[in-house]
Symmetry: C2
């Protein structure tokens, strides 16, 4: 077959702190065995992509030229990311497109010409390589755009409820809850009968969630926030939280409220309640430190949460069911909304980069390499 | 039998924020069934006792009169401790003394006249009531003072190593490690072959631990602290920490160092290592917030740790073995040192209260009610 050539968006951090994000020419390797080559049609920019793409680099003061951004990375981050120094790393966790070449294995050959969604990394490119077993074939009624975000958010939202069951909790609190992911979680919890407290940061976000039928929506920008949160935690008896924000006092406030609800009516114990309270931090919309005031007894856990190791913990049977559910409900429960569509080159413009790097809830970008 | 009368140290918080700590007259109830009455001879003031005794009240500006302290509690704490408003709560978790009265049950009668150590609460008193099953009888060669701290610190130190095994870790970091508890942990880890990194806050504390043969002792007051900690974590491969301090950045620094050690030589992952890192906060020597910078990937847990629920989790077989070991090694592994001995009344003097409430490592007080 002819050699496929295209472009690939790569991010490179040099030892001196220079971050270069650029479009590089990409000679696509011929697929072997179960590999397929996908002509990428749509790939979302998720917060987890921004970590590799820009990290904490100073994009505001970067130098922009066509197809290239050069920015300065803070010193501490340069040191922490030692093992990526000098490497041009392809970006883009997930996306959808058409299979244009395939290895010899029947599973790969069967996908030739089909539209698929996958999660191989390197999807901000004209072509990407994936393993056939990890691709989900899209139905004729599902566009590439509709199928582009079938992994990160849907599997994360479903894994939240499975993590809850794994640890024996019965109700959840979710922050930055008006996000695409948050809206999916609202729909999952509705369908599965899981009480859910949604914490959002504006009146407009309250409206988004109320519109899709969310019962408990609490606005952290209001003076009555802590009282509202207490009422919602009391109503749901939520004892586990998933937090996308990371920085600041929100996790601590949620734990404090959970502890107050657990203690209401109980006899005084200097050590607090025995009620387990568990917050998982899965994002970093706020890069500042997490501040825990520890006025919530000694029965608490705050943990990092990451999709891949948790899917390993949950095991193939549960993950298989999650994948099947995503595919069946791709245009309903797991529908995503995008603020803007950009080509690979447009994604590296100053205007676009500053806008999507602001990580505002509900303002996600979609890269459409073919334009 | 004659009614036993004595004095009991109680702490009462009123709704208006007034904290009253005083010696109250105490008519000791006649023991029934398996209960015994102990004439208290020695009871330590542990940090966990100070939480109930004073909490965050302003002892510096309190009013002191013989047998009485009246102090102001900060508003947030008054609200958080609603369920203790108006209650005169007896203080003193553990201590040792002689059994002077016993209920009818043979187990109780068998202890009459014996010296025992126990953990019933209310030990800052002339007499205290305990259940016979929860008392450990002291050998003739062990004084009440030697037996006074047989529960809180020894069982906590032993439970740390059991918690480590429970979670599948192999080496530990311990902070405020020059404390009585910390010295016990050094001896346990030596005997059991568990690599241990001791974090202390002064050169003098380094000397205390080196004197008892500790291998890895790191001084957080030195400029080279982070480098020293990294070297010690690298040498021990410690992935679990127990922290007595709570406030500030120390827990975060320990996690960061553990992550750096886990990553050294590994390929770059934007999500950090998969190496589990778990810090338990079991104390609050620093009442300020815990500050987590989260530059240690997503594979981490920070949890509260409390002795009683953990003993429940470990189960009666392990706890039984721990109790037997404590009794056998009370004057060696589990020996405690005290800075000062005070009567009940002396414990409420300004000089003593300010001194022991400073919670300085290695400066523990012992209450000897009989003087």
């Amino acid at each position: 077959m002819t050699q496929l050539r295209g472009q690939q968006l790569v991010s490179k951090l040099d030892e001196d702190g220079t971050l270069t994000v650029e479009l590089a020419d990409h000679d696509v390797p011929a697929p072997t065995d179960t590999q397929v080559v996908i002509r990428v049609e749509a790939a979302p920019i998720n917060p987890s992509d921004l970590g590799l793409l820009f990290g904490p680099a100073d994009i505001e003061n970067a130098t922009f030229s066509p197809g290239k951004i050069v920015a300065k990375m803070p010193e501490a981050a340069v040191r922490a990311m030692k093992s990526r120094h000098g490497l041009a790393m392809p970006v883009g966790n997930e996306g959808a497109g058409t299979v244009v070449a395939a290895g010899d294995a029947p599973a790969a050959q069967a996908l030739l010409g089909k539209r698929v969604t996958c999660f191989p990394g390197g999807m901000y490119a004209t072509y990407a390589v994936a393993d056939a077993a990890m691709c989900l074939e899209l139905g004729d009624d599902v566009s590439a755009e509709q199928g582009a975000s079938a992994f990160v958010n849907p599997l994360t939202a479903l894994s939240f409820t499975e993590t809850m069951r794994y640890h024996g909790h019965k109700a959840l609190v979710h922050t930055a809850a008006a996000s695409n992911l948050g809206q999916m979680l609202v729909k999952i919890c509705q369908a599965d009968g899981i009480p859910l407290v949604n914490v959002v940061r504006s009146e407009a976000q309250v409206a988004i969630l109320k519109d899709i039928g969310a019962e408990h929506v609490v606005d952290s920008s209001k003076d009555s926030f802590l009282d509202d949160l207490t009422a919602a935690v009391d109503a749901t008896k939520a004892t586990m939280a998933f937090d996308a924000i990371g920085g600041g006092k929100l996790v601590s406030q949620i734990m404090t409220v959970m502890e107050q609800v657990a203690n209401s009516g109980a006899a005084y114990s200097r050590y607090g309640s025995n009620s387990p309270k568990h917050a998982f931090i899965y994002g970093a919309l706020d890069l500042s430190p997490t501040v825990l005031t520890r006025n919530f007894g000694f029965s608490w856990d705050v943990s990092g949460w990451l999709l891949t190791p948790w899917m390993g913990k949950l095991g193939p049977e549960i993950v298989g069911k999650m994948r099947a559910r995503v595919l069946a409900e791709l245009t309903t429960t797991f529908a995503s909304n995008y603020k803007a569509r950009v080509t690979l080159e447009q994604a590296l413009s100053r205007e676009a980069a500053l806008d999507y790097n602001a990580r505002r809830t509900g303002e996600k970008y979609l890269i459409t390499p073919a334009g």
